[in-house]
């Protein structure tokens, strides 16, 4: 039985990831990468919109995608903390994207075969996109990990910084996805000559609306214009 809060969590993951990826626009290390990151941001944004629409129906209070995106405070967002973390350098961004999209692919795979037809349809579309996101980010993780000394150092340090936030992905009903997720990640790490960080600190709270200090700042920027014109159409 899919609950409103679960769908909202997935939607928020996708929206906040899109917002962070959008910050790279015109700042990527190569022009091809500007295009790729915008593409992935668009995929995440597209998934978020479909999920918000469905969440609105499940809730039954008539909230639209823009109501969800622009008129909630950070304590009402249900995304994992991983997606709200600052972009950092390109290595941190690729670590975040790999960890998120490998999780999303597994989750969408499961939902695509589930009994909730509406969610199955959304997931069937999104999982193809996730496969591309995994492919893109794991290629970069390999290139950077097995590139120069400098890029190896940065990639390992990015992985180390982000790793603690991956535990939150597997809380609750997605706990059993961690095994296949680790298998996928380990394969990438092996090729990238990276060391998987030890498990230990596992920050959490995002799914309950407890976020890092970064989220309210992200929302201040994202929501400023929409909130300045209550009720306006765009």
């Amino acid at each position: 039985m899919i609950r409103f809060g679960d769908v909202l969590g997935l939607a928020d993951d996708a929206l906040i990831a899109a917002q962070r990826l959008g910050e790279w626009c015109s700042r990527a290390p190569e022009m091809e990468e500007d295009i790729a990151l915008a593409n992935i941001a668009l995929d995440q944004l597209g998934a978020a919109r479909l999920l918000f629409a469905y969440a609105g129906e499940l809730e039954g209070h008539g909230r639209s995608e823009d109501d969800f995106a622009f008129l909630r405070g950070d304590r009402e967002f249900r995304n994992v903390q991983l997606v709200e973390l600052a972009n950092g350098d390109f290595a941190v961004t690729m670590a975040k994207l790999l960890f998120l999209s490998a999780y999303q692919r597994l989750l969408y795979d499961r939902l695509a075969g589930g009994t909730d037809e509406r969610l199955a349809a959304i997931a069937a579309k999104a999982r193809k996109e996730s496969a591309y996101h995994v492919d893109h980010s794991s290629r970069w993780v390999v290139r950077l990990g097995d590139g120069t000394d400098e890029s190896h150092r940065r990639m390992q340090s990015g992985v180390d910084a982000v790793w603690p936030y991956t535990h939150e992905l597997f809380e609750g009903s997605s706990a059993d996805l961690r095994e296949p997720w680790l298998a996928e990640i380990d394969k990438v790490f092996a090729e990238a000559t990276l060391t998987r960080p030890a498990d230990g600190w596992a920050p959490t709270g995002g799914r309950r609306g407890l976020h890092t200090e970064a989220l309210s700042r992200l929302l201040a920027e994202m929501q400023v214009l929409h909130r300045a014109h209550p009720g306006a159409t765009w």
Binding site: S26, P29, N39, V142, T148, S151, H226, T233
Partner: protein, 308 residues
């Protein structure tokens, strides 16, 4: 054979010059300068609109804007590729941009101060770009002409999106309408200036006309743009900020006030509001990405060795 004669004949017959063909050195240089400037404009042009991606007021508009800025990066890539057929590398071109040795369109040296600016850039700036670029689809140099066909199709899509943004604003709340009018007030004259100096002061033009790189004069194109905008501004219910704008039945065209060409010259010289900011942003992205590009090259080299 006589290569110059062959080249002249191709151009005269409105056929395409291709990369393998002989061409006059001045033709090659003119094309490199023009295509590079065009490519740089697409890349620098990502910044003013990119400034509003994070703050787009609805998810639909955010998606449209992200896709548009992505298209601009794509246009930049086609155009660098077209320039590369003339024997210069993208890397050289990018360095010339960052060092200020090549120009980009001066329009991108103005700031985007509100969301309505995204609409005004779509409507006016992309509109002016289309008027400028449609004739380039018939340019004598094949790779450039073909790139322009693809680009013009997308640009007209962008222009319509900008028009829709302004239409929604001008038919929205009073604050939204004021925002739209303010944007049009600020972008109108810089858009007129996109067509370059008036014909009497324009350099390069005559030779480019002969080579069929250019087909209409700056003033002809500017007039076409003004006539097009007047009509659309009516539907938008927005005022073009020119008290002397009026229909001239004799000429069958609108009389209008020329843009401030002294200001244009200042901006071209580097003294627009955002010249330094735009180049600094580009330089920083390039420098901060250096370690990533080096890593990719090092990794590729390792793999190549492994495959030998």
């Amino acid at each position: 054979g006589d290569p110059q004669g062959y080249f002249d004949a191709i151009v005269a017959a409105d056929q395409k010059v291709e990369p393998r063909d002989w061409m006059p050195e001045a033709y090659r240089k003119t094309l490199i300068r023009q295509i590079a400037q065009h490519a740089h404009s697409e890349i620098i042009g990502m910044q003013p609109e990119g400034n509003w991606i994070s703050r787009a007021p609805s998810l639909k508009r955010k998606a449209i804007l992200l896709a548009k800025v992505q298209d601009e990066a794509g246009h930049g890539l086609y155009l660098y590729a077209a320039a590369e057929t003339l024997g210069i590398s993208r890397q050289e071109l990018v360095e010339m941009l960052i060092e200020g040795r090549q120009k980009y369109s001066s329009i991108f040296n103005y700031p985007t101060l509100s969301w309505a600016d995204v609409g005004a850039i779509g409507w006016l700036v992309d509109g002016a770009a289309i008027v400028n670029q449609v004739p380039l689809c018939r340019c004598s140099y094949g790779p450039y002409a073909r790139a322009m066909i693809r680009i013009c199709k997308e640009e007209s899509f962008h222009q319509r999106q900008g028009y829709e943004i302004l239409y929604t604003l001008s038919h929205g709340t009073p604050e939204q309408k004021a925002m739209a009018q303010d944007a049009v007030d600020r972008w109108w004259y810089p858009s007129l200036a996109m067509f370059g100096p008036s014909d009497s002061d324009s350099t390069h033009s005559e030779q480019s006309m002969t080579w069929k790189i250019k087909r209409f004069s700056n003033d002809e194109l500017r007039q076409r743009f003004v006539d097009m905008c007047v009509q659309q501004a009516g539907v938008l219910d927005l005022r073009i900020p020119d008290p002397d704008l009026r229909w001239n039945a004799e000429r069958g065209a609108h009389d209008y006030t020329q843009p401030d060409y002294d200001e244009l010259m200042q901006v071209i010289k580097g003294n627009g509001p955002c010249n330094r900011q735009r180049i600094e942003h580009r330089r920083r992205a390039h420098e901060e990405g250096a370690w990533v590009r080096e890593a990719a090259a090092a990794h590729a080299a390792k793999k190549a060795v492994a495959h030998v």
